[in-house]
Symmetry: C2
């Protein structure tokens, strides 16, 4: 059953909470949530590349990893990902490998995004699974969070 519009913001709110927690740890503030088709939140994570010393530990990869572990399957075809920033190529490809149903992201990322920018991964003929994509749903909040983070860093 398709999710009603009204429930979407709360999943993105959870993703933003994860992004804020990441910022508090000195990580680039990005958060992600994996939600099953019945609205169950399977996993939520913030970026942990520095904390975990793991180049793959973007919020999306961690959330996918936790959700897949919970389901005991690397494929999550009934699941949606909510993330505060347009996924990079690593995360876009992982979303495709996990066969997600839908990706919703808050801000476009012209520098590192790989859905609407750069390699536009889901538009490649070699992309084996293309999810539904809803982009730019909360551009301003995500941009403000990233801006504060990078200003504080300088």
């Amino acid at each position: 059953m398709p999710r009603s519009e009204s429930s979407s913001p709360s999943f993105m709110d959870l993703a933003f909470e994860e992004a804020c927690r990441a910022a508090e740890k000195g990580e680039v503030p990005v958060g992600a949530v994996v939600v099953a088709s019945d609205g169950t939140v399977l996993a939520q994570a913030g970026n942990r590349t520095e904390t975990d010393a793991d180049p793959s530990a973007h919020a999306e990869i961690l959330a996918l990893r936790f959700a897949a572990k919970k389901r005991n399957s690397p494929r999550l075809p009934d699941c949606d990902l909510y993330v505060t920033l347009e996924p990079c190529a690593m995360c876009a490809a992982a979303i495709s490998i996990a066969r997600l149903r839908k990706v919703v992201f808050a801000a476009y990322d012209p520098k590192g995004g790989a859905i609407e920018h750069g390699p536009r991964f889901f538009s490649q003929p070699t992309c084996h699974h293309v999810p539904e994509v809803v982009g730019g749903v909360d551009e301003e909040r995500a941009r403000a969070l990233l801006k504060t983070f990078f200003v504080d860093k300088r």
Copy 2:
């Protein structure tokens, strides 16, 4: 100091050993090794997506993750990756995030590869770090291994 040509095959041999071990577990046979500039093997791994129920558990990601953990840093700028198959977009982007010095792969992968095929990730203007790439160094061995695996699966 640049590595001599003669030492390269042994790192790829290790990657092939990992690929064979992956095949024995019913995984798509791909193996990867991360090597430091002094020739130390920091990490080696085979594909474990099904075994670990982890969509991100490609051989390259696991090897990068283990090497980064060992170094306690998500960045491995003095390190090289040897892998039996052309990396996909997820792994190519992770290689870039980890700022690897060099990637050596055995077989080209026209269907899922993302270095010489599909998104050609390292050629994208948004790719922030481009490693040296040596492709197709042992095409036949990698192809034979994959072919045997997929024939056995059918």
